[in-house]
Symmetry: C2
Subunit: 233 residues, 2 copies
Amino acid sequence: MIHYTHPSRILVALDCIIFGFDGEEIKLLLIKRNFEPEKGKWSLMGGFLNETEDLEVASQRILYELTGLTNNYLEQLQTFGSVSRDPVERTISVVYYALVNIEQQDVTTIKAHNAYWISLKNKPELIFDHDAMVEQALRQLRYKAALHAIGFELLPEKFTIPQLQKLYEAIYNTKLDRRNFSRKIISTDLLVSTGEKDTNSATKKGQLYKLNAEKYQRYLTDYVSFFPELTLL
Amino acid sequence: MIHYTHPSRILVALDCIIFGFDGEEIKLLLIKRNFEPEKGKWSLMGGFLNETEDLEVASQRILYELTGLTNNYLEQLQTFGSVSRDPVERTISVVYYALVNIEQQDVTTIKAHNAYWISLKNKPELIFDHDAMVEQALRQLRYKAALHAIGFELLPEKFTIPQLQKLYEAIYNTKLDRRNFSRKIISTDLLVSTGEKDTNSATKKGQLYKLNAEKYQRYLTDYVSFFPELTLL
DNA sequence: TCAAAAGTGTTTAAGATACACCCATGA
DNA sequence: TCATGGGTGTATCTTAAACACTTTTGA
């Protein structure tokens, strides 16, 4: 194989910010490291890129190793490349963020990695530049969820409109008007009524909806605003 | 220095999509390669990341080498990492896009690199995955310029509102209503009248404005919509 | 029967859109 | 003086925002 003459081959890591939603709060899947470096501290799930592995494939592998999940929402965020970001060796890190249904993961692999779901509000300090990664991922989540229908990735297959509203309130750390929210969601035609009712609710049982898969695919790339105050000037 | 045991150190390239605006069309600064590999074909400006160089610094260096420009709008787009994207050797490429004022660059260095401003409509086929990079950069430019006040980076310091409108029409390949556009821009309070008139115009000379620097800084991070049809459902 | 959450309708205000007229300039 | 492009005003329609009442459920 021919090679470039440029000498500087660099270690390429991947780190993954994994978001979940428990019905009340946005949570992060974080690892309490029982390995070096920085053993005992908190970090994101990560790994190295192999020579013969696509970047996309590597990110899916890393998510799978920790959660047992495939086919999740997984999007590249940004690459972090300060010279001094990893004290062990010059390493650049390609960062992905994932949205997962918190009820679907494989508890065994999570335990094996010493990982825990931590709510954003209680996030401990993380190693290296992982705090900056999380901050940027949250910004991207807010940005994207305001314009695209990605929030559903954090919910179970069937959900009520009030549940969806709680999700958006958690993402934006705000309160929304129930009536306006409901009307707006209905008007997108993104939801299909299942006819079933939410059995968990303690009081009046809400109607369970699922996604209109076709419309949903369109809204992943097209603009929609699920966040009322974002009428953009 | 301690090293990780992981063996796969990989060549890290940077590629840069450079957008300009000539008053009528969005243009790309492309290189007709007089060097290997793919000599004779068109490509983006690129280079390799050095072992002791921050990623951000490297992207600025590459932009400077080609255009002689510093302090431009330069933002990381995404990292491309297919195994087979570069036939010479496994290389991942961190892609940046830059917005430059087409009148300010250093013609000498551009000539030295055998680079030319090509309008988007006449873009030739590029090497490797550079076409996909350009496509994504354009999508990002459209996305971002609809919400943030970044378009100004493509204009000279002083400009008329009709010039600004032409820019947005070029970015979105559409026609906008002159009266509504003007009102919307004025209402943002982003422009400051200079009192001067555009001397280039053949007919009625338009008022020259410049940016309200303070407001501008805010709008780089905050949302603004300069694109009327983007009321997002 | 009462508290808590779900569901729906109305009114108002703001913003987007469409459209018409006048002004300045140089050929 | 006329064609071209710049500047401003107004009416209408759509959408967001604020707000009140009724229904369902289990304790």
